[in-house]
Symmetry: C3
Subunit: 134 residues, 3 copies
């Protein structure tokens, strides 16, 4: 259900990008009930200056390690679930010293179940019974 | 009205990307009534590993030919129209043996007519009579 | 609050991209009340042919200088504010002869305040008093 877009400034190692990708997916699984296999992400690196961020907005001190995560998924999660998700992503990155919590911004975007086709021209969430969403 | 983002893994030929671009646009025209000239798309290729997909979620068998299509357009289409659209995109790609139906995922995202300016700083859908939307 | 995606065809100078980035941000500040420091943008250049546009839809004459600006921000602005925003972006670009008003398309996309974390795993708009949104 989710399509995750991760945008980072060039210079991250594969291991760092993989850790980030995995943390976002695991947090979605834990906090939003996203199925384990429902993992679709687009990871894009940008030259310095093309991923524009403010180094201090809202009292958060950001660096060129800045990363923006955008999650598009079906509507229905509560603000409490969303808060738990943001916190969990950061918690799961605790073992990654080169990914500073201050450098990870996240935004969520919602659509409807009818807005997804996962291949073969079928709107799976409209035609498959929920037990098969895996 | 629509802004289509097509994300593919590097390795597609120009002909394949063009066929995909044309199929998505024609299906929007047929199923959603999008005007012929209302074609705005962003096609991006990604190195392997940066367009992350699950090879089997929902029983669909995906390969590195995987493509994600995201359509942003004004709200108002029914789930039935959306289902017809997904099916039509795949149908129109029938002549493209290198684009497997299982590898084409699609997601839709809606906004409002007031959310579009097509140039010159004007919100055309608010100020132009509908007969001139072409 | 906003995440702005700016997509242009390769060939723009740094000065042009900077002028565009600044114009979009200043117009958001003036027309939507976005804080000065709330500036987050992703600027991407695309090879010719990968940013697809129609050269005449809605009577606007576009060239390969075409640019698409997508603004994601919290819901709540009126159509009048949106109209003022589109017009203001173009007005602020008046000193840039290489950015034609006809070549700047804009689309807006809305989510909710709970949909943003600006770092540290916190949903700042839910937990910080509004006076501190700066």
């Amino acid at each position: 259900m989710p399509l995750v877009r991760i945008d980072a400034i060039t210079g991250r190692s594969e291991a760092e990008l993989n850790a980030l990708s995995a943390a976002v997916h695991r947090a979605m699984s834990e906090c939003f009930g996203v199925p384990e296999r429902d993992r679709f992400q687009i990871i894009t690196e940008h030259p310095r200056g093309r991923l524009v961020y403010d180094p201090g907005y809202l009292g958060v001190s950001r660096t060129d390690g800045f990363i923006f995560v955008q999650v598009l998924f079906s509507a229905g999660r509560t603000p409490e679930q969303k808060k738990a998700f943001y916190a969990r992503v950061i918690e799961l990155l605790a073992g990654e010293p080169r990914i500073r919590p201050e450098d990870v911004a996240i935004t969520l975007l919602e659509n409807e179940r009818s807005d997804w086709s996962f291949g073969q021209g079928i709107a799976q969430y409209l035609v498959l019974p929920k037990e098969q969403w895996k």
